[in-house]
Amino acid sequence: MFYRSHVLVCGGTGCTASQSNEIIKQFEKLLEDNNIENEVKVVKTGCFGLCEKGPIVVVYPEGATYSRVTPDDVKEIVSEHLVKGRIVKRLLLGEKEAEDVSKALEDVGFFKRQHRIALRNCGVINPENIEEYIAREGYLALGKVLTEMSPAQVIDIIKKSGLRGRGGGGFPTGLKWEFASKPQADQKYVCCNADEGDPGAFMDRSILEGDPHSVIEAMAIAGYAIGADKGFIYVRAEYPIAVTRLNIALKQAKEYGLLGRNIFGTDFSFDIEIRLGAGAFVCGEETALMTSVEGKRGEPRPRPPFPANKGLWQKPTILNNVETYANIPAIILNGPEWFSGIGTEKSKGTKVFAIGGKINNTGLVEIPMGTTLREVIYDIGGGIPNEKKFKAAQTGGPSGGCIPADKIDTPIDYDNLTELGSMMGSGGLIVMDEDNCMVDIAKFFLDFTVDESCGKCPPCRIGTKRMYEILEKITEGRGEDGDIEKLELLAKNIKASALCGLGQTAPNPILSTLRYFRDEYEAHIYEKRCPAGVCKALLRYVIDEDKCKGCSLCARKCPVNAISGELRKPYHIDQSICIKCGACMETCKFGAISKV
């Protein structure tokens, strides 16, 4: 059957949460009602990246991109666009209503600056149909590798491409493969780290949801390169859509003989199994992850021995991140020179970022290394809501740090971020504006690491807790002279003595906020003041007697009856009762209430 039109509906987690499944059902029903179900095909795809504007629906051949579609809008799209060929302008993505054209996805500002390699198929194909992946050159790289190249040649290509681990550390991938290819062993393993744990990061989830075969293909290529016939994908059970699509993809790959015995008629055999993680952050650390795959409690162990020599079940193992794998087939097909031509001197290719926080276009973007933070925030991210001022961006999650406003023009790559005291991390990028308190941010991340510390080594188990307590004290207005120095000493010792990456990087959010925003810490401690007006214990709501008209609105709104006064005379807030909820300030029509 031939279709004249394809309707692509985003089936990523974000859009699924905003009813994209209902939208698909509604399309199918209305197409049938209009007797055009044989002319128009509805396709569920992976994430388009523009989660803020979701659910996204793209109609081909016109390429019209509709945003924030609701199940109720479907009727109009079907009756106007699909039956009569009239594009529904009011739903078009981000374009001025007056504009008459339907823009191709690639022409929208959000996509124009991007360079999609790892996300090349996300939002383009149906991830549950292996043939759509094959149509986009899928498994061609595996075929090429198995029939035309030696394992050493494959490793050489990856080395030459300059690809570095996208999980955060940035270790050269080719080198990792070479280490694991050297030892002689009866069994080797290829592992995929899909235990994405940083708060606000969802790149790996989107790739698994939108293009699971790219990871499967790359793992098979890695298996051939190091001499392994068995792979494991460690993915968190909290990603149900990703797990479902991975399972479908694995089943289809086996049916098509792209996994299993004698792939492409060669001696090479490869199989992959999924292991579900229970969502512990520490299991994203390589030794803890492998221990968990083995079925034991997910705790790290000291290195060396490194996994390349003794990994899973003491056998040589490589572990790469989802995004790293997603780059591999493209590198094989286009050559290492193509890949190393993108990016900066020491960071090649692209990086996917999940942008969140105080930003207009929350979503997923893939940019060439070396793009500046300013371009990401203003050109792609659409700037900061309500014309607020940019204060800092947080990268690397609980292991990373902040990039302050005066460094906004730094090109983003591994080395520059490390130099600024942050890190690339897995790609979470949280934008903060003038209303964010940096001490509070540090406390948020410490709270996370305290929770997620596995408890095996004391520096991490006890040290992070002590640091958290000091931060709590400072934000509650009980900070005292010497606290900052204590934090610095603790941070230094924890970094030097913790067992694994989790503990070694846990102090980073504190160190980096201290480096750029020490004055905020000092204001909290010495002036008992929170400059951003976030820390409740340090702020007071007050009524300006000159502006107050005595209308009593705030007094009626106050949930704890802290406001009293006489009608038509200035009111007053009792600070001993006030819970600082801010309801009075929101409700005042005369702007008489302010935070100090």
Binding site: G85, I125, I134, G143
Partner: protein
Amino acid sequence: MKSLAELKAIREKALKEINLRDNADKIRVVVGMATCGIAAGARPVMNAFVEELNKRNIKNVNVLMTGCVGACRLEPMAEVIDARGEKTTYVKLDADKARKIVVEHLVNGRPVIEYTIGETERE
């Protein structure tokens, strides 16, 4: 999967399925699908275009819909717009005529003069 050739065969077939989602530098066949067009039988015309193009494995043509151009008495109409923007307007179509346009115009590059608006209006 036994060979690269087998993979490539699957790819050829699958590419036809998703070719529609690539709209760079293509010839466009725009069919009038307003109420007047639909009433005059534009839907079978459009389907004939789609089917015939797919049957002949022609990848560089997109079939699109448009609204009423004002010449309702000449519906069903279709315009073929080539990559350079040159336009040929066909009128009073049916499914068979559409198939012929695919063969003559889109495959062989010879516009079917007898179905064009200029020729029809002269009568």
